[in-house]
Point group: C2
Chain length 239, copies 2
């Protein structure tokens, strides 16, 4: 009797080959369980074992009630550049920014993070980042209105970049503290902009940026599409 590889491994390999050769593209739906059952003359359990392995490896994604899909390539954020746009361009994405609002606000909670009086006016700039025309991120940036006035903040529209608008006024962030967590979006305005369902999870980044004199220049909160975003860091261990 000839050596035969287990059927579930054969199914896995065929799916991997289809992805490698481009027959299956990121976001494509793969054949359903019942189609593969017939095609390979196997049980549902065998198909599910192949699917589960590929889902665990991050190659496929199961969507409740909709089927199984080829995972979208996550863009990887390295930690070297202030400009996320530049990083995405380097990774070959077509990017665009939609400015949602530029307002003067009062927010004691944010003022505290900026280290200013809790009733001091802040400039709040909201924008949606699109990568290949899909919403990638919703950014909310705050800056002391004494550093950037509401009028000066209008530069964001023409420059399509909050950081370029800061740079124009001589404000150049040199380093930042970032906090990463998972946040569910319950605000319908945010979920609509991000095209995710209410209560859906996002990769959430809180950033406090500092200039060369270690003065706080910006506090921001960003919701990233969890299918499209991850962060990569190298860490050294203290011994």
């Amino acid at each position: 009797m000839a050596y035969r590889i287990p059927k579930y491994l054969q199914i896995k390999q065929d799916i991997l080959d289809a992805i490698k050769t481009g027959v299956l593209q990121p976001g494509d739906k793969v054949d359903s369980e019942s189609t593969l059952k017939k095609k390979y003359s196997v049980s549902a359990i065998t198909v599910r074992k192949a699917f589960n392995d590929l889902i665990n490896d991050g190659i496929l994604v199961g969507v409740q009630g909709a089927g199984t899909f080829v995972a979208k390539k996550q863009m990887i954020r390295g930690l070297t550049s202030i400009s996320f746009s530049d990083e995405l361009l380097q990774q070959g994405y077509a990017i665009d920014t939609a400015i949602i609002s530029i307002e003067e606000v009062v927010n004691p909670h944010v003022a505290e993070k900026l280290g200013i009086g809790q009733d001091d006016p802040l400039i709040c700039v909201k924008r949606v980042r699109l990568a290949n025309e899909e919403p990638l991120a919703f950014h909310i940036s705050y800056i002391d209105a004494k550093k950037l006035s509401l009028e000066e903040a209008q530069d964001v529209i023409a420059l399509k970049s909050f950081y370029k608008a800061l740079e124009k006024r001589g404000i150049i962030p040199k380093w930042a503290n970032e906090n990463y967590s998972v946040k569910e979006v319950n605000d319908p305005v945010v979920s609509n902009l991000m095209k995710i369902k209410k209560g859906g999870a996002t990769f959430y980044v809180k950033r406090t940026a500092f200039d060369e004199r270690n003065q706080i220049v910006e506090y921001s909160e960003t919701y990233f599409n969890k299918e499209l975003y991850s962060v990569d860091v190298n860490i050294k261990f203290a011994t």
Copy 2:
């Protein structure tokens, strides 16, 4: 007429005061919308505005169908120590580790990450980390079986630490590459161990750890409870 602060700000302040004084503890349910409506003689919209502000600030958490709760304090992971246990102890948590399994396995996908032959045997150690008796993390660590044998890996049970078991054999990770993303848990084994609902989101960490000669010593995948975990990094911007 005396100056009066808006009612929703009063509600917010009273909730913040109750948290500050310890009347409301992390995880406690706050008064329902209808209770607060009566208590302050305000509309549902006013109560909701107070709740929304506090939810947006990360102070309260709304749980669909269950009510509104005081957010649990997130433990913050700095990026200095290999030993997560040590960090948690410093932050005052009572920690414990439950070893789920220690097995020899073959996994071509992981073998590739470890830089060894795809049929080479691996030691796979699964464990659940508990902080104050709640599941905080489910860790799956892989190491080349030539570096740590199945027999040697049993040390993990007595030492209650994978890294201490490595250290005993002279294997000392010096740095690591970590990738952070959001992952939904569909494996019922994992969701049961983590006490989260099927399809629930986790903070997901993939780590490749290296020794002082830059040899790969470990590849691991960890699911963190999103309510309890976040990562903090300082980043410098290239100019």
